[in-house]
C-alpha cells in the first residue's frame, strides 16, 4: 500500500512540474471557467449569502476540487466547463436536479470525428465493451472512470519518456485498485490487495516501474495503440518468458510506437527497450553472442587437440 501511495505521489509532483508553465496563458483563454474555478479550484470558497446579507466562507468538497493547472494541460484544455456540464451551473447554489444530468461520453463527440481518427475511437470502444469492467458493470463503468474528465492527457502516443507513460498509465488503474473509496463506486465487493495478488512476481517495484498493468491484463491487438480489452484475471500474463525472451511481447505493446524489430544499436537485440530498461532474455548483444560462441568453440577445440597430442605422445 505504501509503495502504491509513494508511486502516486511521485506522479502528482511530476505532473505539476510539467504543467506549471501552461498555467497563466491558459486561464486567459477560457475566462468563463475562472468563475467555476473560484469555487472548484480552491479548498475554501466564498459566496454572498442573501439571508445573512454577508459573504460566507465554506469548505469545498475535496472530491469536487479541480486542479486548474492539470485542467489547462490536458486534451480538452480549450473546453469551457459548460461544454460538458449544464449551463445552469452558473447559478449558485446549483439546482439539485443538475446532479442527475446525463454526461456525454467520448463517442458522442469522437465517433466519426476526422480530427481524432488516428486514435480509432470506435475500435477502442469495441475493445472496451468486451473488457471485464464493461461486461461486469456496464451500468456504472464508463470511459470517464479511467479518463479523468478534468486531467486526462495522452501520454503513450506523445511522451518520449516511457517511464513517465508507465507511471501515468498505471496510476489510472491504481486510482481504483489502490483506492477503496473509488472502487466502491463500482462494486461493494471487497477490493483485492494488488501487492499481495502479485506476490508471485519477483521484485514488484522494478516490474511495476518498467511495465504497465495493461501489458499483462489486456488482449493486445494491432488495431489500436493502447489495448483496452482488460481480460478476466485467469487470462492475465503470468509466464515470465512472454517478456523475458527474444521475441518479447513488450515489443508489441509498451514499445510498439518505438519498435523497430531491431538489432541496430551496436548489435543489441530489441534495442528500443534498452534506453529505459534491461530485460533479461530480451536484450542480447548479437556480436557478443557470436564472439562468445567462437571463443568457447576455440577453447574446446584446443583442449581436444591438446588432449589428443598428450595421448599420442604417451
Amino acid at each position: 500500500m505504501k509503495k502504491l501511495l509513494l508511486m502516486s505521489i511521485c506522479v502528482l509532483i511530476n505532473l505539476q512540474l510539467v504543467s506549471r508553465t501552461a498555467d497563466e496563458d491558459a486561464i486567459a483563454h477560457s475566462p468563463a471557467n475562472s468563475k467555476c474555478f473560484n469555487c472548484h479550484g480552491r479548498p475554501v470558497y466564498s459566496y454572498y449569502n442573501e439571508n445573512l446579507e454577508r459573504d460566507v466562507s465554506k469548505r469545498m468538497n475535496p472530491y469536487f476540487l479541480i486542479d486548474s493547472v492539470a485542467y489547462y494541460n490536458q486534451n480538452h484544455k480549450s473546453f469551457e466547463c459548460t461544454d460538458c456540464h449544464s449551463y445552469d451551473y452558473n447559478t449558485f447554489p446549483h439546482d439539485n436536479d443538475l446532479q442527475m444530468e446525463p454526461m456525454p461520453v467520448c463517442l458522442d463527440c469522437h465517433e466519426g470525428d476526422d480530427a481524432t481518427a488516428a486514435f480509432s475511437f470506435e475500435k477502442i470502444d469495441q475493445e472496451y465493451q468486451q473488457s471485464v469492467h464493461s461486461t461486469k458493470h456496464s451500468g456504472e463503468f464508463t470511459c470517464w472512470m479511467c479518463h479523468n474528465p478534468h486531467s486526462y492527457k495522452i501520454n503513450a502516443r506523445t511522451n518520449e519518456n516511457i517511464k513517465e507513460t508507465i507511471v501515468y498509465d498505471n496510476n489510472i488503474c491504481l486510482s481504483c485498485h489502490a483506492d477503496v473509496n473509488k472502487y466502491q463506486l463500482i462494486t461493494s465487493k471487497e477490493k483485492p490487495n494488488i501487492i499481495k495478488k502479485h506476490d508471485w512476481l519477483p521484485d514488484q517495484i522494478a516490474h511495476f516501474a518498467h511495465v504497465r498493468c495493461i501489458e499483462c491484463h489486456t488482449h493486445v491487438s494491432n488495431n489500436v495503440l493502447v489495448a483496452h480489452q482488460v481480460l478476466p484475471k485467469e487470462q492475465a500474463v503470468k509466464k515470465c518468458v512472454e517478456c523475458h525472451s527474444q521475441n518479447s511481447m513488450l515489443m508489441a505493446s509498451l514499445y510498439k510506437f518505438r519498435a523497430k524489430e531491431s538489432r541496430n544499436r551496436l548489435g543489441f537485440v530489441n534495442s528500443s527497450i534498452l534506453k529505459d530498461a534491461y530485460v533479461i532474455g530480451a536484450n542480447r548483444n548479437y556480436y557478443l553472442n557470436i564472439l562468445s560462441g567462437i571463443i568457447a568453440g576455440l577453447v574446446v577445440l584446443l583442449i581436444i587437440i591438446h588432449a589428443l597430442l598428450r595421448i599420442l605422445s604417451k
Binding site: P202, C240, A277, G281, A296, R310, S313
Partner: protein, 202 residues
C-alpha cells in the same frame, strides 16, 4: 604416503567443492536466463531466477570466507606474485604446456610445499580469485539490489551496463572453469589432482 605432501587443507577442500557446485549451478541458470525463450528453456524462468539468486548469494558468502581464510591461514602466500623474472617464468611454463609436455619433459616448476602453483597457475588463480570473482560478485550484488545502481551509466541504464560486465565476467569464468578442469587432468595420472582435492594429499 612418504613422498606425499599435504597441499589442500580441509577448509580449502570444503570451500572448493561448495564453490565448484555453486558455480556450475550459476552457469546453468545464468545461461538459461540469458537465452530464455518462449519455446525452449534449460530451466523454467522463475526457477532459474531463484536458483541464480540463491546460488549467487551463497557463492559470494563462500568467497568472502575464502578471502578471509586465505589471508589469515598463510595460504595467501601462494597467491603472491613476485615481480622479478615472473614473466619469463610464465613463459617457460607456457612453453612446457605447448611443447615440452608432448616430449615428456619434466615440468619446469615441480610442486613443492613452498610452491604449490606453477607460475601460470598462479597467474590465473590470482586473476580469477582477486579480479574476476570480486567483479562478478559485486556486479551481481548490484543487480540484486538495483536501487543502489545509478540510473544511467555511459549512455545506457545502470542495470544494463552492470549486467554487461556481469555477463562478460561470467563468460570468462566459465572459460576458466573449462580450462581449469582440463588442466587438472595433467597430473601424475589423469585423476591424481582430483583425488588430492578430495584427500588433501598430493
Amino acid at each position: 604416503m612418504k613422498d606425499q605432501i599435504y597441499l589442500y587443507p580441509l577448509w580449502i577442500r570444503i570451500w572448493h567443492v561448495v564453490n565448484a557446485l555453486l558455480f556450475i549451478a550459476l552457469i546453468f541458470s545464468g545461461l538459461s536466463l540469458q537465452y530464455s525463450n518462449n519455446t525452449f528453456n534449460l530451466l523454467p524462468f522463475d526457477f532459474a531466477v531463484s536458483m541464480h539468486n540463491i546460488s549467487g548469494i551463497t557463492l559470494s558468502i563462500a568467497f568472502v570466507f575464502f578471502l578471509f581464510w586465505n589471508h589469515f591461514s598463510g595460504n595467501g602466500e601462494h597467491y603472491r606474485i613476485k615481480s622479478k623474472g615472473y614473466c619469463a617464468e610464465v613463459f617457460r611454463q607456457f612453453r612446457y604446456y605447448a611443447f615440452g609436455i608432448f616430449k615428456n619433459e619434466k615440468p619446469p616448476f615441480p610442486i613443492t610445499e613452498e610452491q604449490k602453483f606453477n607460475p601460470l597457475q598462479k597467474f590465473t588463480y590470482v586473476m580469477v580469485m582477486y579480479v574476476l570473482l570480486p567483479l562478478i560478485t559485486l556486479t551481481g550484488l548490484g543487480l540484486f539490489f538495483p536501487d543502489i545502481l545509478p540510473d544511467r551509466m555511459l549512455g545506457t541504464t545502470g542495470i544494463h551496463f552492470v549486467d554487461l560486465i556481469h555477463i562478460v565476467t561470467g563468460f570468462l569464468l566459465s572459460i576458466f572453469m573449462i580450462i581449469h578442469i582440463y588442466f587438472c587432468t595433467i597430473g601424475r595420472t589423469c585423476s591424481a589432482n582430483f583425488k588430492s582435492m578430495i584427500t588433501g594429499w598430493h
